[in-house]
Amino acid sequence: MNGQTQRFTSRLRALIRKEFHQIRRDKRLAVSLTIPPTLQILLFGFALDATVSNLRLGVIDWSHTPESRELISSFTESKSFRPGGTYTSVTDLENAINRGKLDAGLVVPYEFGRDLRRGHPVDVQVLLNAVNANTATIAQGYAGALIQAYNQELAREGIHPLVRMVGGTPPTRRGIVTTVTAFLYNPGLVNAWFIVTGTFGVLLILNSSLVASTAMIKERERGTVEQLLMTPANTTEIVIAKIIPLFLLLMVVVFLAIGVMRVFFSVPVRGNMLLVILGAALCVLSGIGIGTFLATFTKSAQQAQLSAFFINPPLATLSGSMTPVEAMPSWLQPITWLNPIRHFGIITRAVMMKGSGIDALWWNFLALIGFTLLLLSLSVWRFRKQLG
């Protein structure tokens, strides 16, 4: 028994050494494992920004009163809107929005100032170009908040003359509720933190599945599998020996990505980084599992890569890593729990930004371990069956 395990480990060691030699000779692999992931993280972090600001606002002011000018300037002075010109007719404003020259329009009616002074409620119209649904939703929130602030200002000013006129009797008026929003974990609302932490998982799965499927299929394409089978090593050993060097190599990518996140985007680390690394290791292993599994189904490198294209985009988009899961249709949302990237994304964000511990994330870890074991054993089983 003892001799057997000894033979097993020595054979395994020899095979692993062979894989390492092969990897070392393949300069391109090293390049393709370092440069694309770094570029991906940098590009995604810098370029994917959904922030809505500086919307071009066209204004029609039919009131021409201090009140209307104050409302308009409260819009244009905010960071959310910038003046896009004044218009005299609704058709002109409509045309400008149609042609994409304006993102929003504000129409102040003729009776605005008069009615306000008399204490009557007044309507203003806010027109938003909703072709981009996200921009419209956020712009709507901005406009609502600006008008609420304007109303509060009015209420504060308006109460004094009222008190003075009536002469001491307090006005029968209920108080106003305001929401004070505290943005936790990311008070500066840096969008890159969200994107970068999400991209991390995507690129781990993407790169490990690509690298693994190429490595597995290379041996078969060149016909050297038979040579391997003629050695005393059995198929499980061959697969394990292939996986271990790849795993170690991909862990380098993990540290590289963490470095880029810290240096270029200064993503905070508020929790225990070991949890992220553990999650990343599981993610890499399941990526290798996906790649190996794909490789067993395909005949050529070309086919394997194409099938990776088939698997990867859905994995990446249905992970909540770049767009929130809550924005997906409700029938699609439960499916995202079957995605290792979803769990890893939750782990990365929770640990790095919120400082959560294992007590909050044990479920995600359990799921990741489950996926890893399932994918790896499935791929080993398929690989053995194919060789046998």
């Binding site: 009015l154 108080g175 305001t178 929401t179």
Partner: protein, 368 residues
């Protein structure tokens, strides 16, 4: 011309033999179109919210009900003795609304009160949306309780134009369609060309009587056919399932599309000629076709938000111009005056890729 056609036929025959690759190349863009245009959206609904009501008065319950009734939030229960922030750290909720003690009493006295909203801002875009929703709901609450009466108040009537349901599929699906066409013909072309270099069959081409231009054009023509098939399938889906329709003059779309097929196929052949290694060529196409087109073309995230240092790159991203052509043909209908420049740019970029491919093919002979 005859040689170009026979080269194209040889290429297509080779591709036909690889049934899986062919099926994936034709079906995959469709699947992507369906999947991504439903899944890529930023407008969130139905977010989990914890309400901590420390007042427990009629007024506070009314405010809580206003939140409960909105479609933007659903209220999850949370024990009052636990710290509300914990609901955020373990991902039970996206926000916590804290109604302070004496909320109802202050309101009845006519004093202004504040409620606190803690928002999980790990996703800054969602955080902004949560804030907007909450402001609107409290605004509505104020209006209902008549607290603004007497001082006069302004209400905004919001009109959402072009897309009142804020449906992101209409906006996203043409973009995804373009992404599919940018990626797969280029990928197949790069693979075919890299294989030629990897297996040294390029030498056979050199000893034959075919010229470099005929060889390249034949290859490009074959992948333009593939792109055309993808285009037809995708366009059919857009017009039927996604409810798009062609607005205005279709000629810019047709001319632009054919030029774009040439552009992406040339890009693929160029990559394959420059990088005679299938795996590396795939990564290069993935980087160019997928990442650049996905990121820098204004597909989901607006181009204006890209930092200026990177924004110039989007001027040479071919997909960006084609997205403009397709969006114009499907949504706005501006015709030639609106998109002539984009069509021109597609042609120019296609020419550049072709020239680079030609130069690369000449080098392949030396290295082979």
């Amino acid at each position: 011309m005859r040689r170009i056609l026979s080269q194209a036929r040889k290429e297509l025959t080779q591709l036909m033999r690889d049934r899986l690759a062919l099926a994936l190349a034709l079906v995959l863009p469709l699947i992507l179109l369906f999947l991504l245009s439903t899944a890529i959206a930023l407008t969130v609904h139905n977010l989990p919210l914890v309400i901590q009501d420390l007042d427990d008065s009629a007024a506070s319950r009314r405010l809580a009900d206003a939140f409960r009734a909105s479609i933007s939030f659903y209220v999850v229960s949370w024990p009052t003795d636990q710290s509300p922030e914990k609901a955020l750290t373990n991902n039970t909720a996206r926000g916590v609304l804290i109604i302070p003690r004496n909320f109802g009493r202050d309101l009845n006295r006519g004093a202004n009160t504040q409620v606190q909203l803690l928002v999980d801002a790990t996703d800054s875009n969602t955080a902004r949306i949560v804030q907007g929703y909450a402001t609107e709901i409290t605004g509505g609450f104020n209006q209902d309780s008549g607290s603004m009466a007497g001082s006069g108040m302004v209400t905004a009537q919001m009109r959402l134009w072009f897309n009142p349901g804020r449906d992101s599929i209409k906006f996203a699906s043409p973009g995804i369609f373009v992404m599919g066409i940018s990626m797969f013909p280029a990928l197949l072309a790069a693979l075919a060309m890299a294989k030629e270099g990897e297996q040294k069959t390029i030498l056979q081409v050199y000893v034959s009587s075919i010229s470099a231009h005929e060889f390249l054009l034949g290859k490009i023509l074959a992948f333009m056919v593939i792109a055309g098939c993808e285009w037809l399938l995708g366009m059919f889906a857009l017009l039927t399932v996604f409810g798009q329709h062609i607005a205005g003059d279709p000629t810019p779309l047709i001319v632009g599309s054919v030029l774009y097929f040439f552009c992406v196929s040339s890009f693929g052949v160029m990559v394959g000629a420059r990088i005679p290694n299938q795996a590396a060529a795939i990564q290069a196409v993935a980087l160019g076709g997928f990442l650049l087109v996905f990121l820098l073309s204004g597909l989901i995230f607006p181009i204006e938000n890209i930092p200026p240092g990177l924004r110039w790159v989007s001027n040479i991203v071919w997909g960006r111009y084609y997205i403009e052509v397709v969006r114009d043909a499907l949504l706005q209908g501006g015709g030639w005056p609106a998109v002539w420049f984009s069509v021109l740019m597609i042609a120019v970029l296609g020419g550049v890729f072709y020239t680079l491919a030609w130069l690369g093919a000449r080098r392949m002979q030396v290295s082979a």
